[in-house]
Amino acid sequence: MRTSVLWLNDYLEPPASADEQAAALTSAGLPFDGGDTAENGEPWQEIETTSNRGDCLCHVGMAREVAAVTGRRVREPQVTLAPSAEQALAFVKVRNHEHAMCPLYTARVIRGVKVGPSPEWLQRRLVAIGQQPRNNVVDATNFVLFELGQPTHVFDLATLAGGEIHIRRATQDEPFLPLGADAKEVKLCPSDLVIADRDRPVALAGVKGGAMASVTEATTDLVLEAATFDAVAVRNASRRHAIASDSSYRFERLVHAAEVNAAADRLAALIIELAGGTLCAGVVSDGATVPAARTIALRPSRAHRILGFDIPVPRMMELLGTLGFAPRLATHGGEEVIETTVPPRRTDVEREIDLIEEICRLNGLDAVPVADTIPVRLGQQNAVERGTRVAKDLLAGMGFVETITHSLVSERMAEPFLAAGATLLKVEDERAGGEPALRPSVVPSLLRVRRHNEDQGAASLRVFEFASAFHFAGGTHVERPTLALVADAPEGARDGQLAYRLLRGTVERLMASIAPHVAELRFEQSDGPAWLSPAARVSVGGMPVGVIGLVDARVLKLFGIERPTAACELELRGLLGAYPPDNAATELPAFPASDRDISAIVAESFAYADLEREIRALSLPFLESITFVTTFRGKQIGEGKKSVTLRLLFRAHDRTLRSEEADASATRAIATLREKCGAEIRS
């Protein structure tokens, strides 16, 4: 809230400088957020308030805080009223139909006012906080609002049909024209609370007055409204109709019914001082019973336990007293406690812990001591977190850049990645800026990153991200923590096979780190997902962990990527949950191995895995491993064919193998490749 330094000092004894005010309010939890001088040269300061301190949205409220922190005295405004013999009830009748939405409604009547400009002192105060002075009656309501925090409203009595005031719900599509030069008529609904005369709404309760019954130069008799409204009802109406006002802002932060009459009297006195007229006797009101002031007990032992250090009981009582609490000592169950009533305006103070906070706050957080040590009980390491960190470092070491991309993407980007039978989860908010879909995979985000970097001149890129993917399927929402990887072939190469092998090698190396004890890592050709073509399912020890392949050409086109690009999506939580793996050392072989390379020219229809499988099926003696060396295609080999080179490694565990033994096995392998795969062997 914008505060005037001079206005605040109207209530402080002795006055405080701007800096003192700012420092005191900041230390009380109402931080200073800049200041300047208004067009009339008076200094103002912006003071932030938290949503629980509606009582501080006014100068008297701020003055109480400055006083409590600095030891000053608060001078509350004094009011004297001399009502006439005429009864207010003779002019206005109030019927409150909605006590839950309007706990208290009061009306006072002032007759014979002369509407005109405000005196200079009042205009100065308003201008200092950026308010535009209008006339003495409207300015008086504004002044009371910024002085005491109570929004009020003034109607022209002559315009109130039937002299009736009804607090009621609006009817469906009931029209209402708010006050204001460029205001437009709105259509209300039954969730809206209105102040109405006999015929029509004259105000949207707590939010805005209507143009119809507003005060004009010609007005002589006034009805002063002071009321309190339900915070949620006001907020909803304000949002629904996009009308925010200083009144709605305060009602949304709770104005207590017990504060209403004091503010209304202050307004009446001020109007009579500024515009003349006489106050009719009586207050016409309708509402629920005003709840009695709360009493709360505070155990000093509890305060000590929460705070961890001692604040003497007299000091606690003194601090509460400075804020208008009325603390006294009492005994509860043999324990000495501080019992205190709570000023009604402090709607935020309901419990013992709230009093402890008040004491802690006013005593100052700088006064909380710092110990030399902290007690530590060593908790469990989180395996997933630790394993994830190792995986990330490993990937970065292998040349991958870690990205963090937004979880929301456009539907167009998301849809190709949706599995059959699943639907997209979307946020409602239009502020998602055309990107309302919770991504069903992190891969589209990485493809976008790939494209962005290509636009910036990056020839090739490998990226990864650990993040959740989302979808809706089988009647429930699914959030999957995934690792997504995208890579293209190294610079210069335009070969999809190379991009795939690079990414697959990355996955193999990663698995060797996080799950070396799980024997089998498999990559098996599969028909899906649709966004990969070709695609392979990745499994570890028979458990599926994800998919890998080349991104489908149509998807690449969607992202404007021309280079063959490999992508992989893994769900590693199960494996990472067992991190670190239980590694057992294996003795190294004692005798040398012999290797034999075989280059087999086969039709393209044979996959590398087919050749390897055929050789393995022979259960060749002394065969230790089969590794892939290379695949070659070219004119010498012929159309539709390729030359695949495999390396067979032979070893005996108890002696050095003889050359003839390795040769014999290799010969059998060659024979089987010829027979089963129609291979022609190059030598």
Binding site: D366, E385, D393, V463
Partner: protein
């Protein structure tokens, strides 16, 4: 003769000191140690020395020879240390060894988790897609609270409308941890949170928070402040300081804003400055009640920090959008 030998020794050794390369050393060898060198000449001259002086002069000649050869050999070894292998231009740049990099935000998270881990906080996590119970109710944010409006939250539509939202804070993980684990409890939670802010240099609708929660029988504000001070010094350096300012959060009471004095980069230069990093406070009794923990038996503190804010200030990053654009050139600066 003896005096001659002394000056010869001096002359040879000082000449050796000026030898700059292998060629000069070879010239020295020829001149002094060669078949027609000066040492040979000195030995030949021995024949003309009177018999009675022969033993002394002979001994001296040998000493001088040994001294010169000693220094000569040391020089020779020194020149030999320069490799004579294939021609290598040591000024050529190294081969690029991988272009990988960890994201600056993730690295910041790792650093924070590492320090918190040393302080006994275990990492806990929870879903980003949350229900209103964990994001609001259990955190003492009632239905009527303004923070529950659509302006502050990404609520989901469609089949799950009214049930789910993208979490606005990692405090949800506090609730999940308290629901499943019994105190004493000391956890930290790190992750993405979402708020529908328009994107500009300081706002992004997704960012990261780290949250700490410590519950035991005698946890107090003193423990909270001590923990934060120790964290600050361990993470930012011994000069770091902590300042608390009273504030309001529904899930803590008393509540405070958390400022840390940290080394930041401004206009490319490091300086120590107070930065608002987050909030903290003592766990509100209502939160304990919501998860079935007796607030009379247990007390606790919680704190939350904005990760992007730490990273941006620490590295002098002026625009939050740079963090999520993922330009590899930008990210590699922190690799």
């Amino acid at each position: 003769m003896l005096a001659e030998l002394d000056s010869m020794e001096q002359e040879a050794i000082s000449e050796l000191a000026t030898v700059a390369d292998a060629a000069a050393l070879e010239a020295f060898r020829v001149r002094w140690l060669g078949a027609n060198g000066r040492l040979r000449a000195a030995m030949d001259a021995l024949k003309t020395v009177p018999k009675d002086q022969k033993p002394a002069v002979g001994k001296r000649v040998n000493e001088v020879k040994a001294a010169i050869e000693g220094v000569f050999n040391a020089r020779k070894d020194a020149f030999a240390a320069v490799p004579k292998g294939p021609l290598v231009d040591v000024t050529e740049p190294g081969l690029p060894m991988g272009e990988g990099a960890r994201h600056v935000v993730a690295k910041t998270i790792d650093g924070i988790v590492e320090v918190l881990g040393r302080m006994g906080f275990s990492v806990a996590d929870g879903p980003e897609l949350e229900d209103e119970w964990h994001n609001f109710n259990a955190l003492n944010i009632p239905e009527s609270h303004p923070a529950r409006g659509p302006a502050d939250n990404f609520f989901l539509g469609g089949e799950v409308a009214g049930k789910l939202l993208l979490r606005t804070q990692t405090s949800t993980v506090q609730i999940r941890a308290m629901e499943t684990m019994k105190p004493p409890l000391k956890i930290c939670a790190i992750g993405r949170v979402y708020r529908p802010d328009a994107h500009d240099a300081t706002h992004y609708s997704m960012f990261h928070q780290v949250e700490g929660l410590y519950i035991d029988r005698h946890v107090s504000m003193v423990d909270l402040k001590t923990t934060l001070v120790q964290f600050a010094k361990a993470f930012f350096g011994p000069e770091a300081e902590v300042r608390l300012r009273p504030s309001f959060f529904p899930f803590t009471e008393p509540s405070a804003e958390l400022d840390m004095k940290m080394k930041i980069i401004r206009n490319g230069k490091p300086e120590w400055k107070w930065i608002e990093l987050g909030g903290c406070g003592m766990v509100d009794p209502n939160v304990f009640r919501a998860v079935g923990i007796d607030p009379e038996e247990w007390t606790g503190f919680a704190f939350g920090l904005g990760i992007e804010r730490v990273a941006m200030r620490k590295y002098g990053i002026g625009d939050i959008r740079l963090l999520f654009e993922n330009d590899a050139r930008f990210l590699r600066q922190f690799a």
